[in-house]
């Protein structure tokens, strides 16, 4: 069974006239790395909020259709129960850290669950080491750089050992290099720990190569859902105006000029390798 499954999911915020997401039917398998993208205001954040029950439990409003996460019906289970399985990392690192030391912040979720102190200690240390911020454990989060703060946010979700991690534009407050490193970390969580990743991101240049799948939304609906190479090369994706990676554009350009590369490259490394092969021939 799929780890996340929605069927005709439609949601309207309380007081809003328009639906924010409409008729979303998707299936995400365990261990996938899914890239969710689309123009601003298309409902990406809203969909993320459905995955861990913030919608409908925190936001109320009108939710129709079905949504199951890790076999649990989101509507019937409270947020704190879903939180054990689905971790959410938000855009602004500053507003998701509350404690006065990094380790205390990472422990927050575990404390809420009433896990024994000894186990909290172990899991906190493990999460800090996995995200490479063990040396910062006693620092107050607000004194850290944006990238470090976002790592703390990731560690604090990781400590709860969720099967699914949803990251909503986790790097939009960071510089490109900081962003790149965060993406590498997320990739590592996916590859080494098998955590299912849903990453909302505009910068496909940096992330497409990690994804098994890209979902593109527009105006509250899913309009494309499939393999990265196919999606990025499609006419539809170009028309919506999402940030198609430059290497893909180069590929299309070369293709137009009659130079055949046998697949769509997703990163500059891949492109370089491909070109070298072609020139050698």
């Amino acid at each position: 069974m799929a780890i996340i499954e929605t069927e005709k999911l439609t949601y309207t915020y309380p007081g809003a006239e328009k639906t924010s997401i409409e008729n979303i039917s998707i299936k995400i398998e365990e261990g996938e790395f899914v890239l969710l993208t689309g123009p601003s205001g298309c409902g990406k954040t809203t969909l993320c909020r459905c995955f861990n029950g913030l919608i409908p439990h925190f936001y109320e409003g009108k939710l129709e259709g079905k949504i199951q996460v890790v076999g649990l019906d989101v509507v019937k289970h409270p947020i704190h129960e879903l939180a054990k399985h689905v971790g959410l990392v938000f855009q602004n690192p500053e507003n998701q850290l509350f404690a006065l030391s990094v380790e205390k912040d990472v422990a927050f979720g575990l404390e809420n669950l009433g896990i024994p102190r000894k186990e909290i200690r172990q899991r906190v240390d493990w999460a800090l080491k996995t995200t490479d911020i063990y040396h910062l454990r006693e620092r107050p989060p607000y004194e850290l750089s944006g990238g470090q703060q976002q790592r703390v946010a990731i560690a604090s979700v990781l400590a709860m050992q969720p099967e699914v991690m949803v990251l909503d534009e986790p790097t939009s407050f960071l510089d490109p290099l900081g962003a790149k490193r965060i993406f590498e970390d997320i990739h590592k969580l996916n590859k080494e720990l098998g955590i299912t990743i849903i990453l909302v991101e505009h910068r496909l240049d940096l992330t497409a190569k990690y994804a098994n799948r890209i979902i593109i939304m527009d105006n509250g609906k899913v309009i494309l859902n499939g393999k990265p190479r196919e999606i990025l090369d499609s006419e539809k994706a170009r028309l919506i105006g999402i940030g198609i990676p430059k290497v893909t554009r180069l590929y299309q350009f070369l293709n137009g000029k009659g130079m055949r590369l046998n697949y769509v490259p997703l990163s500059s490394e891949e492109m370089a390798k491909k070109l070298k092969e072609v020139f050698k021939q």
Binding site: F90, Q96, E103, A107, N112, P116, Y142
Partner: protein, 266 residues
Amino acid sequence: MSMFEGLKFRKVSSPIHDLDPRVKFFYVIAMFAVAVMYMELLPLIVLFLIQVPLVTMAKVTKQWIKSMRGAAFFASIIFFTNFIFSYLYQGQQALPSILEYSMAMTLRFIVLVESFSIFFLTTSPDHLGLALEKSHVPYEFCFAFTTAVRFVPVLAEEAQTIMDAQKARGLELEKGNILKRVRNYIPILIPLIVNAIRRSLELAEAMESRAWGATKNRTNLYELKLRRGDYILALLTVVMLVLAVYARWHIPIPRIMEIFPWKASR
């Protein structure tokens, strides 16, 4: 502002930092009680001096001096009001004793600031929150407390940013009469409040996402345990309290000017 600067916690490790906040708080309250018990200069000097080793042991001398400097303004107000009023009341003959009395009142305040600043300089807000929890304060309040402490610097920075931005757009804060000046602050307060509300919503979302309220029996990463140092401080505090009460009723306390008669004879 600088007085509060001296109350800001910095992470240092020292035997004083490791003490249980509850014991430290007991110590502060005891200090407070003893300082209020005495109106004479001599015992207050003693109270002031016996706390100095604590400061050096805690390695917070620099910040402590800062907070004392910050308190100097209030201290001088206390000194002068006491001095002027006693002078008006008692006349010129009693000048030396008025002087000593005013100094004692001032020192009493300084002793209070001293012990409070030792407390805040050496107690991490996290531990303070934990101490509150252990004292059966509901967890929601403790959480609100530590979160408030955490967001003070953030909000201060934000206020500064907004102020700069509005000034750059031509807002003049220091212009006009008092009413006008208060009105000048509205374009700063509104974005600040709006931002704070948005921020608290995001925080609430993040808390919910991390299983806030999952169980009544919340656990805690940190643990408060009474150790040897805590017993020593508690014991010392009790001894001081007993001595102070005893001395208050049974030992006549000389005034400084009686000890140094050369001053009185003038």
